[in-house]
Symmetry: C2
Subunit: 237 residues, 2 copies
Amino acid sequence: MLKRNKPLQPDISIVANLIGEPARAKMLTALMTGKALTATELALEADVTAQTASSHLAKLLKGELLVVRKQGRHKYFQLRSVDVAELVEKMLNLSASIQQNSIKTGPVDQALRHARVCYDHLAGEQGVALFDALLNHGFIAEETNQATLTDKGLLFFSELGVDFKKVNQSKRPVCKACLDWSERRNHLAGQLGAWMLNYAFEKNWAKRDLTTRAVHFSTQGKTKFASCFGIKQTRGN
Amino acid sequence: MLKRNKPLQPDISIVANLIGEPARAKMLTALMTGKALTATELALEADVTAQTASSHLAKLLKGELLVVRKQGRHKYFQLRSVDVAELVEKMLNLSASIQQNSIKTGPVDQALRHARVCYDHLAGEQGVALFDALLNHGFIAEETNQATLTDKGLLFFSELGVDFKKVNQSKRPVCKACLDWSERRNHLAGQLGAWMLNYAFEKNWAKRDLTTRAVHFSTQGKTKFASCFGIKQTRGN
DNA sequence: CTGATGCTTCGAGCGCTATCGAACTATGCT
DNA sequence: AGCATAGTTCGATAGCGCTCGAAGCATCAG
């Protein structure tokens, strides 16, 4: 048979294969918190022994999906870049829409559904509520799955302390609409999304859950967070 | 050991595993042309026998990444949705940035680099040139990796025959910046991107390559295409 | 130093899955 | 009808890679 000149296309099977192993997939989704995790933590997360985890982590490193930082006798792993996080996010979304089956309602799930970290910004009910609020106040504009900062929004966030000189130097989008797999609606990602989540942590309005992606707001914190960004309070909790 | 309540998260390993097999990965990238392909075509593309291809295709169907249409004794396979295409696209980009090695320069590759189909819109040098031209004329506005249609652009495309009533009914974004893995710059995706590529085909300015993702412009067609959208002609060919 | 903890390497076991030959069904062409 | 082409099913094979036990480094705390 005639061997046709195969075009140079990146081979996606390598990356996909790395993610395609259940244990590694669990590790990657665990790292979607944005937090750096140690090898043992990831082993627990993936339900494998330390040895197995070690070999998986080595592969993920070699495949350039993760980076490590050694600190004493610990090794802290993180997703290598926002690109990797975005890929995982897209996979989560597609997977959610394919496995739209069991809508469990355990306590952990409810917390996750309410507010959780999506790599570096806020997702869940609170995430989309925030997005809606920003829209209502005209701080951002939405055009079918895209989000852009308005002049009004620029002013608002400048006064809150966002340094847009610095922000604009980065190639990363300021605003980015990110589809929420539990709510099936948009929340805000991008630099601004990351900034707001960080702001909530700094002000002690909320704190991360130690083991899951959940974000826990204090009662007071939630009120302040809502008033700061003009979110209409809905049902309790 | 204490079995902690695991949060409900979609399992990304299933989808990733499907893509992670080299033969299946090749099939999926082949389908990025947007064209429907038969089982044998896909078998050739993936370099496997018909039997093997059949089993792979069955898995991709079960995994809901593809859809089939039976026509006579042929089966035409297609990516199931734009979501799937976008996922594959993201994987191509990430993979390209990881394997930024061999920049081959075969004839096929040059054609691909020049102009190719990215699922349903134009990519490659021509794709980014088009994007730049639309920017220069103020038809679209760019804000760090986002693209939006301007009023001026709305007028321009309306006059060209785009039915925006229909367009706005769809949930799909009108404009979408899509990172080009060969050029490492944006080109235009979304409904408008798809519309323009289709327009070029309709006007017979260009035609698809039968076996690759390459798009071949006729000499005349290229001139007309450029003048229609105000693209500055660069080097020959 | 000794013991404890975090992580890695080695080796053996073993299950999963991609692969293809051969045989089968289905459709189309003449 | 009779043959060619498209696609599938079955079964056997082979090999890859996940897994964990055991032993080995590395780091830290006394």
